[in-house]
């Protein structure tokens, strides 16, 4: 058998194997019924790793000129990356604080439909002199830490609602209550929101 024969036979065998695959006829309907809310540890890790790899791709594609491009009315692409670094660290800190059973000694006012503008500005300012490489490194380290937590936290911590420092109106009694698993997915959603816009702006694939 030469290599072409091997290739042909592999193709035929693979096609036959795919045809014979025993699939779950109810899975699509069950997934729709659950609205995609059947969250497991592999789902969390895969979603986090997906954004971690997307950041690595963006990092490789960004030069100084692209990083200086205005991405919002006030923020450059570099500012957005730094903003995501600040949130990566904050998400990681919040998850670790809940996991340790410790209390939050601060609040983040997250005005509905506007966001945590004061917190965002403060954190961006704290990182004013941070290099782009360091911002990407901060994202990578924090995301990797959250990936580890997605695999290691006990079920009762990962999948039970916890009280977080975010509050819609600055009042501690109105703090967000959400599952850490959902907080991890929220990080992914937030990262992708900005990553998609940066890619569109810079015409990256």
């Amino acid at each position: 058998m030469n290599e072409l024969d091997v290739e042909r036979t592999l193709n035929d065998e693979w096609q036959a194997l795919v045809e014979a695959a025993r699939t779950n006829p109810d899975l699509a309907a069950a997934t729709v019924d659950a609205r995609g809310n059947r969250i497991t540890r592999p789902v969390l890790w895969a979603e986090l790793e997906d954004v971690r790899l997307a950041f690595a791709e963006l990092h490789a594609a960004l030069d100084d000129t692209a990083a200086a491009t205005l991405a919002t009315t006030r923020w450059s692409v570099r500012d957005v990356v730094v903003h995501l670094a600040s949130w990566a660290t904050e998400f990681s800190r919040q998850i670790e604080t809940v996991a340790a059973g410790a209390a939050f000694d601060y609040l983040i006012t997250f005005t509905p439909r506007i966001g945590p503008t004061a917190w965002n500005a403060r954190e961006l300012d704290r990182r004013r002199s941070m290099s782009l490489d360091d911002a990407f490194r901060e994202i990578d380290i924090a995301t990797g830490r959250i990936e580890e937590l997605a695999l290691s936290l006990p079920d009762d911590l990962l999948f039970t609602a916890a009280e977080l420092p975010q509050t819609p109106d600055g009042r501690p009694e109105n703090r967000w209550r959400t599952r850490l698993a959902d907080l991890m997915l929220m990080k992914c959603w937030h990262d992708r929101y900005h990553l998609d816009r940066i890619r569109d702006l810079l015409l990256l694939e």
């Binding site: 194997l17 014979a20 025993r22 699509a28 995609g36 890790w45 690595a56």
Partner: protein, 191 residues
């Protein structure tokens, strides 16, 4: 050489134009790709684990499909959903492997793995000599490249999923074919 799957293009077009809902088109895409997804996973896992991870893959896709970003022009040959599913299979498999390693490390007193019962699908694989030889001879990445190429996933998508260059994908594919041939020519020899 690739497995001739029906095209995802008409489903994407119908969804992009609003002719069908996200849920209906999700079910159509599930019907189109449920077999390759299951085959990708079950080549590397027991059938029970493949079932569980298939659920994870489709859950991730369902969530993403709700806000899918369609390009201005849909290219008929493009397979963005197949690419997405391949990448997601790769990532969920990596997560599963990490969980397994953690479980093993945290359960030292366990006297080794309990062999999973061989299901009909696994028996089906055993009679397919070339694929069985490939499974035996190839590294995990070579096997991932091989089955992706056989399913029609682009080299670019494979490269991005595995974090390697397109040239490395091509080399990995050729290496997988050569190793498979070597095992078939000389069964039992070290690969």
């Amino acid at each position: 050489m690739t497995v001739p799957l029906a095209s995802e293009h008409p489903i994407l077009q119908a969804r992009a134009s609003g002719e069908v809902s996200a849920d209906v088109s999700f079910e159509q895409l599930y019907d189109l790709y449920k077999r390759p997804v299951y085959a990708w996973l079950s080549l590397r896992l027991t059938s029970t684990d493949a079932d569980d991870l298939a659920q994870d893959v489709w859950t991730i896709f369902y969530r993403r499909w709700q806000a899918w970003r369609f390009p201005a022009e849909l290219v008929p040959e493009a397979k963005p959903v197949l690419s997405f599913l391949y990448r997601t299979c790769h990532l969920t498999l990596a997560a599963f492997r990490r969980l397994q390693e953690r479980d093993r490390a945290g359960d030292l007193e366990q006297a080794g793995e309990v062999a999973a019962p061989i299901g009909s699908w696994q028996r089906d694989l055993e009679v397919r000599q070339c694929l069985t030889a490939a499974k035996e001879a190839c590294s995990p990445d070579e096997l991932a490249i091989l089955i992706a190429k056989l399913t029609g996933v682009s080299a670019r998508t494979i490269a991005r999923a595995l974090g390697v260059t397109e040239s490395a994908v091509d080399h990995g594919y050729r290496r997988a074919i050569a190793k498979t041939r070597a095992v078939l020519s000389n069964p039992g020899a070290p690969s």
